[in-house]
C-alpha cells in the first residue's frame, strides 16, 4: 500500500499530475511543492517504469510529458543497476511510445521530452543502441519498434526516409538534435565517455543525410512558403540539426573523414539555397553565420560562390538595404551578420585579382551600412558589426602588403585603399557626438556602448593610417577647420576627436604638422584662444583640451602656440566636464615644454589662484595642475626664484591646513577631504620638482654619506619653504582625523625626496621615523606606511651606519606592534602583520647586522605605567612572529612570511662575525620553522598556500640541509595526522616508514622547485584523504 491510501502507485502518479496542472493549485506554492516532492519520490522508486508507461499511455500532454520525464529520471537514478537485456526492453517500450505519440500528432513539447529520454538510454554505458537515427526512423516508418538488425536491411535514404510523413520527419529531427547536443555535452564530462561518444559519432552521417533529405524535400514544397506551416518548422529543425552535428563532427576522435565532410558541405549548400525562401531566410542566415564563425571547413568554393550570388542580389540583399535605409530593424540583423561573416571568411581574398563582380557589389552594400540612420550601437546595430570586419582588414593589411608573398602581389591595392578611405568617410557621420537632447533618455549602458563604438572607430583609424597616410589626417583637418570657421561645434568635435586619436601615429614624427598648423594657426583658432569664453560647446571643449595633451611633441616644436593653448586649458578648468582633461593636458604640456614656459609662470600662477577657489579644484584636478606648474618652476634658473614662487604656493597650503584643522572640530568628513587635497597637492609639487636627470642612488656604494647634508633648502634661504611643508604635514597628521587617502599622500610627500640627495623634499630622517611611529596598530593604510619605511631604508642603504638610530627605532616599532599582536590575539591584524613582515624582508639584505646585533628588548606597557617587565630581545619577537604568521590561515601573511624566510635563508654575512650571527639565529629558529611547515603541509593549510610555504621549505633544505634534516625528522615524528577509513575508523595517515620515505625524497630533491612542490602536494592530499588533484 503506497502513501495517502493509494494502492496503485501509477494511479497515485496520475492523480498527482492532474493536481499539479490543476489551475486551482497554481496559486498554492506549498501544495505544488508537496506534489512535486511526492512525484519525485515516485519517479525514483521501484514502480517508476510502470508509472512512466502508464502516464505515456494517457491522452493528456501533461501526463505524457511527466511519463517521459519519469523515464529519464529513473534511468539517471537507477542506471547503474540496469544490464543490457533490460536496456533493450526499455528502449523498445520507449520507441513504441515515441511512435505512438508522434502518430497521434502530440505536441512538440512532449515529443521533445521523449526524444530526450531516448538520448538518455542511448547514453547508458551498457546500451547497445548504435545507429539510433536510422533505427528510430525505421521504427517510425514501421509504426512500431524494429530491431537494429532488421533496420539495416532497408536503405536509410532511399527506403526509410521517403516513408516518413512531415510529423514523423519532424519528430526524428527533434531526436537527431537532442542526440547531437548530448554528444557535444558528453565531451566536457569528467568521466570516461569515449565509448558513448564513439557510438554518438557513428550517427553523424545519418544526421547529415536526414538534414539533406529534409531540406531538399522542403525546397520543392509550396507549403514551405506559408509562414507557420509544419514544413517551415521541419526545415528550421533540420538547420538546427546541421549545426549540432557539425559540432559532433568537429570533436570526433577518428581522423578526417572526407565523405562525412562532403555530407556536411552539401547540407550547407542546401541551406544556402534556403536563403531565397522568405519564410526560412532569416533562420538560414543565423545558422550559416554561426557555421561561418566556428566551422569554416563546412563550406567549399561552390558554397562561397552560391552565397556571394545571393548576397549580391536576392531577397537577402533587399533586407540589408532596407536596414541601411532604416526601414527594417533588429529583425533583419541576421542578414547583416551573415554579410559580415562572409566578409570575414573571405578576408583579403575579396581584393585579390581578379575581383569578382558580385564581390564588388557586396563591398558596395557593406559600405552602405555606414549610412544606416541613428546612433551607432544605440539605434543602429549594423554599423559596429561591419566596422569589426574593417578593423580586421586594416590591422592585417599592413603586414600583408609589406610581405613579398604571392598573395600580396595579387592584391588590388587601389581597390583596397579606396575601400578603406570610404570607410573613413562613412564613419565620420557616425562619430558625431549626440546632441544633449538626444542623450537625455540614454542610460549609463547606452553611453558606454556609444563611447566603446567611438573607440572601436579610432582603432580603425590608427590601423588604416599606415595605408592611407597623412591624407587621412588632412580629411579631418579640413573638416575641423571648416566646422571651426562655421562654429559647428558637433562637426568640429568629431574631427578633433579623430585627430586626437591619430596622435599616436603622427605626433612624434611630425608627419602631420602641416595639417595641425592649418588648424592651430588659423584665425578662427586664435579667436578661440583669445575669447575662450566663446560659445564653444562643452563636449567640443572637452575633446579639444584632450587633444592638446595628446600632441605634446607638436607643441614642443611649435611653442609659440603654447600661451594661447594654455589659456584655453586654464579657462576650461572652470567647466566640470572639461576640468579633468584640461588638468591632464596642462600637466603633459607643462612637463614637456617647461623650459619655454618659465616666462609665462606669473600668468599661470595668477590663473591658478583663480582656479583654486572654484568647485572644480578637486583632488583629481588640482594636484595635476600643480605638478605641471612645479615642473616649470624646476626650470627656473636660480634657486632663489624657485624659493620665492614656492613660498607663495606653500604659504597658501599652510593657511589651508590650518583651516582644515579648524573644520575638523565641526565637519569631520569635509576636513578629511580638505586635508587629503592639500597633502595630495604638496605631493604632486614634489613630483613636479624632481629634476629630469635624477641622480642615481647607488644602493651598493661603499662610501658613507651624510643622510641629511646641508643645502640651500634646509640650511640656506630655501629652508623656510621646507619648514612650510613640514608645518602643513604636522597640521594634517598630528591629532588630525587621518584616513588612507591622507596617509598615502603624506607618504608620497616623504618619498618625493628619497631619490635625491639634496632638494626641497629631502627631509631630515627623523621626519619619516616620527611619521611612521605616529600611527597605531590596525590603521587602514598600514601597508603604505610600511612600504614608505622600506623605501626610506633603501634610500639610505649606502650610508646605513648614519641612520642606525632611525633604523633601530623603526625595527623596535614593528617589534612592538608584533608583540602586541602575539600577546593579544584579538588585536591580530593581518594587514599590519603582512606589511610589517614585508618591511622586515626588505630590510634584511642591507640591515641584517643591525637586526641581529642588538639584543635590545622592548618594555611591556602596563596600565600603571610600570615598564619593568621586559620582553625577549627584539629579533626573537620578530622571528617568532614570522613563524606564527606562517601558521595562520591568511594567504597574504603566509606569502610574506615565506618570503621573509626565503630571504633569511639566502643571507650571507660580510664578515665571519656577521656570518656567525646569522648561523646562530638560524640554528635557533629552523626547528620551529620546520615544525610549522610540516603542520601546515599535513592538510592544515589551503591548497593555494602550498607553493609559498614550499618555497620556505625548499630554501631551508637547499641552504641549511644539516639543520633542516633533523628538524624535519622531529617535526614528522610528532605529526599525528589521522583520516577516516572506509569503516569509519580514525587511522593514522602515515606509518614511520612513510614519514622516513617522505623525508628522504625531500632531501634527494634538494630544494628543486617542481619535485619538492609535487612531493608536498601529494603529502597534503594524503593528509586530506583525497585521491585526486584539480590541476597541475
Amino acid at each position: 500500500m503506497s502513501r495517502q491510501g493509494y494502492a496503485d502507485p501509477a494511479y497515485e502518479a496520475h492523480t498527482l499530475v492532474t493536481s499539479l496542472y490543476d489551475p486551482a493549485n497554481q496559486r498554492v506554492p506549498a501544495r505544488i511543492n508537496e506534489i512535486q516532492k511526492r512525484l519525485q519520490q515516485l519517479q525514483k522508486g521501484e514502480d517508476a517504469w510502470e508509472i512512466a508507461d502508464s502516464l505515456l499511455r494517457e491522452r493528456s500532454a501533461h501526463h505524457r510529458f511527466m511519463g517521459a520525464l519519469t523515464f529519464t529520471v529513473k534511468l539517471n537514478v537507477s542506471g547503474g543497476d540496469i544490464e543490457e537485456p533490460m536496456i533493450l526492453q526499455i528502449l523498445e517500450r520507449l520507441v513504441n511510445h515515441f511512435v505512438a505519440i508522434v502518430n497521434e500528432g502530440e505536441q512538440a513539447m512532449v515529443i521533445r521530452k521523449l526524444a530526450s529520454s531516448l538520448t538518455t538510454i542511448f547514453r547508458h554505458p551498457k546500451s547497445p543502441w548504435t545507429k539510433a537515427i536510422w533505427n528510430l526512423a525505421a521504427s517510425l516508418a514501421n509504426g512500431g519498434f524494429v530491431s537494429e538488425e532488421q533496420t539495416q536491411t532497408v536503405n536509410f535514404v532511399d527506403g526509410v526516409l521517403p516513408a516518413l510523413n512531415t510529423q514523423q520527419a519532424l519528430a526524428l529531427s527533434f531526436f537527431s538534435v537532442a542526440l547531437a547536443e548530448d554528444g557535444l555535452r558528453l565531451e566536457v564530462e569528467p568521466q570516461d565517455v569515449k565509448p558513448i561518444l564513439e557510438r554518438c559519432q557513428a550517427n553523424i552521417e545519418d544526421g547529415f543525410l536526414l538534414v539533406q533529405y529534409i531540406i531538399q524535400q522542403i525546397s520543392h514544397s509550396q507549403a514551405a512558403l506559408r509562414e507557420g506551416s509544419p514544413e517551415v518548422a521541419l526545415a528550421e529543425e533540420a538547420m538546427s540539426s546541421w549545426k549540432a552535428w557539425l559540432g559532433v563532427y568537429a570533436s570526433r576522435y577518428t581522423s578526417s573523414d572526407e565523405s562525412l565532410r562532403g555530407h556536411a558541405i552539401s547540407c550547407g549548400q542546401d541551406i544556402i539555397k534556403m536563403l531565397r525562401t522568405p519564410t526560412l531566410s532569416e533562420n538560414a542566415a543565423s545558422t550559416l553565420t554561426i557555421a561561418f564563425e566556428n566551422r569554416r571547413w563546412s563550406f567549399d568554393d561552390n558554397s562561397i560562390e552560391a552565397l556571394s550570388q545571393i548576397l549580391s542580389d536576392s531577397i537577402v540583399t533587399r533586407h540589408i538595404v532596407a536596414v541601411t535605409q532604416g526601414e527594417e530593424g533588429s529583425e533583419s540583423l541576421a542578414f547583416i551578420d551573415l554579410l559580415v561573416a562572409y566578409l570575414s571568411f573571405m578576408h583579403l581574398d575579396l581584393f585579390t585579382d581578379p575581383v569578382k563582380p558580385q564581390n564588388i557589389q557586396i563591398l558596395s552594400i557593406a559600405q552602405s551600412i555606414f549610412k544606416t540612420p541613428g546612433y551607432a550601437s544605440i539605434d543602429d546595430s549594423a554599423t559596429p558589426r561591419v566596422l569589426e570586419y574593417w578593423n580586421e582588414i586594416a590591422e592585417c593589411i599592413t603586414d600583408e602588403v609589406s610581405s613579398d608573398s604571392e598573395k600580396s602581389e595579387k592584391l588590388k591595392g587601389e581597390l583596397l585603399k579606396g575601400q578603406l578611405a570610404e570607410v573613413v568617410l562613412g564613419l565620420f557621420q557616425k562619430l558625431l557626438y549626440p546632441a544633449p537632447e538626444d542623450m537625455e533618455d540614454w542610460g549609463d549602458d547606452e553611453r558606454s556602448e556609444f563611447h566603446a563604438f567611438r573607440y572601436e572607430a579610432c582603432d580603425y583609424l590608427l590601423a588604416a593610417y599606415p595605408i592611407l597616410g597623412v591624407e587621412l589626417v588632412s580629411v579631418f583637418q579640413e573638416s575641423a577647420t571648416t566646422h571651426l570657421g562655421n562654429q559647428d561645434w558637433r562637426g568640429f568635435e568629431a574631427a578633433m576627436f579623430c585627430i586626437a586619436q591619430l596622435s599616436e601615429a603622427v605626433d612624434e614624427n611630425g608627419h602631420a604638422d602641416q595639417c595641425l598648423d592649418a588648424i592651430f594657426g588659423s584665425e578662427a583658432f586664435t579667436q578661440l584662444c583669445t575669447y575662450s569664453h566663446a560659445n564653444i560647446s562643452l563636449k567640443a571643449r572637452q575633446t579639444l583640451v584632450d587633444t592638446f595633451g595628446k600632441y605634446q611633441s607638436y607643441f614642443e616644436r611649435h611653442n609659440s602656440l603654447l600661451p594661447g593653448v594654455l589659456n584655453i586649458l586654464f579657462q576650461s578648468l572652470s567647466y566640470e566636464p572639461c576640468a579633468h582633461a584640461a588638468s591632464r593636458s596642462i600637466l603633459t604640456l607643462s612637463k614637456s615644454c617647461a623650459r619655454v614656459l618659465t616666462v609665462e609662470l606669473p600668468v599661470f600662477l595668477d590663473q591658478f589662484d583663480q582656479f583654486r577657489t572654484k568647485p572644480t579644484a578637486t583632488v583629481s584636478t588640482m594636484p595635476k595642475v600643480l605638478e605641471g606648474i612645479a615642473a616649470i618652476i624646476q626650470r627656473l634658473p636660480a634657486d632663489e626664484e624657485k624659493a620665492q614662487t614656492l613660498e607663495r604656493i606653500f604659504g597658501f597650503f599652510v593657511q589651508e591646513a590650518k583651516r582644515a584643522r579648524e573644520e575638523a572640530s565641526s565637519a569631520y568628513e569635509a576636513a578629511r577631504e580638505h586635508g587629503h587635497l592639500i597633502l595630495g597637492c604638496i605631493a604632486s609639487i614634489g613630483k613636479g620638482l624632481r629634476t629630469e636627470s635624477d641622480e642615481v642612488i647607488n644602493l651598493d656604494a661603499a662610501e658613507e654619506q651624510n643622510p641629511y647634508p646641508p643645502s640651500f633648502w634646509n640650511a640656506g634661504p630655501g629652508s623656510g619653504v621646507q619648514q612650510l611643508i613640514m608645518e602643513a604635514m604636522r597640521l594634517l597628521i598630528v591629532d588630525f582625523p587621518v584616513d588612507s587617502g591622507i596617509i598615502e599622500s603624506a607618504c608620497d610627500i616623504l618619498k618625493a625626496g628619497y631619490t635625491e640627495s639634496s632638494g626641497l623634499f629631502v627631509f631630515p630622517p627623523s621626519l619619516t621615523v616620527d611619521f611612521i611611529k605616529n600611527f597605531p596598530l590596525g590603521i587602514s593604510g598600514t601597508d603604505v606606511i610600511m612600504a614608505t619605511a622600506s623605501s626610506f631604508l633603501a634610500s639610505h642603504a649606502s650610508h646605513s651606519a648614519h641612520i642606525r638610530d632611525e633604523a633601530i627605532s623603526l625595527i623596535v616599532h614593528v617589534a612592538q606592534l608584533f608583540a602586541s599582536m602575539l600577546e593579544n590575539p584579538d588585536l591580530y591584524d593581518p594587514e599590519t602583520a603582512n606589511a610589517g613582515i614585508d618591511f622586515l624582508a626588505r630590510l634584511l639584505p642591507k640591515y641584517y647586522h643591525i637586526l641581529f646585533s642588538f639584543s635590545l628588548s622592548t618594555p611591556v606597557p602596563s596600565s600603571n605605567g610600570d615598564t619593568s617587565v621586559q620582553r625577549p630581545p627584539v629579533f626573537i619577537i620578530l622571528l617568532n612572529f614570522t613563524i606564527h604568521a606562517l601558521s595562520r590561515p591568511e594567504p597574504l601573511t603566509i606569502r610574506s612570511g615565506s618570503n621573509f624566510w626565503v630571504t633569511l635563508m639566502d643571507l650571507r654575512g660580510r664578515t665571519p662575525e656577521e656570518t656567525a650571527d646569522i648561523e646562530r639565529v638560524l640554528e635557533q629558529f629552523i626547528p620551529p620553522l620546520c615544525q610549522t611547515l610540516i603542520r601546515q603541509f599535513a592538510g592544515r593549510c589551503s591548497r593555494s598556500d602550498l607553493p609559498s610555504l614550499t618555497d620556505a621549505l625548499r630554501r631551508t633544505i637547499f641552504n641549511k640541509m644539516r639543520q633542516a634534516r633533523p628538524s624535519l625528522e622531529a617535526a614528522l615524528e610528532t605529526l599525528d595526522a589521522q583520516v577516516i577509513d572506509a569503516n569509519g575508523n580514525l587511522v593514522p595517515v602515515f606509518s614511520p616508514q612513510d614519514k622516513s620515505r617522505f623525508l628522504e625524497t625531500l632531501m634527494v630533491a634538494r630544494g628543486a622547485r617542481s619535485q619538492t612542490l609535487e612531493l608536498v602536494r601529494s603529502f597534503w592530499l594524503k593528509c586530506r584523504n583525497m585521491s585526486f588533484d584539480y590541476t597541475q
Binding site: E187, E189, R295, R943, S944, Y1030, T1031
Partner: protein, 111 residues
Amino acid sequence: MSSPSYYELYRGSSLGLALTDTLDDLINDGRIEPQLAMKILSTFDRVVTEVLAEKVRARLTFKGHLDTYRFCDEVWTFLIKDVTFKLDNQTQVTADKVKIVSCNSKRPGEA
C-alpha cells in the same frame, strides 16, 4: 578520456584559487563529494572563459620592445621589455618585462 574543451588555466587565477580552496574545505567537512567539486570546476572553466570573452569591455593598449617570441603547440609566447600599458581611464602602468602567453580561444575543430 575526452579532451577538455575549456582551458583550466583560470584555475590558477586568484578567483580560481579561492574557489578551489573553498571546494577543498567543503570536501574536508564532508559537505560535498569530490565529483561535485570537479563538476563545479569544469563549469568554472567554461563560465570564466565565456564571461571574459563576452562581458568584459575594458581595453588597454601597450607599447614595448618585443624581445622574444615563439609559437609551439598552438600557444604563442611573447617576451616584451620596457612596456607601457595605457588603460581606459588614461592611467599608465609600466613594467620592465612582461610575458604574454596566449592560447587559441577556438575549441578544437572550430574554424
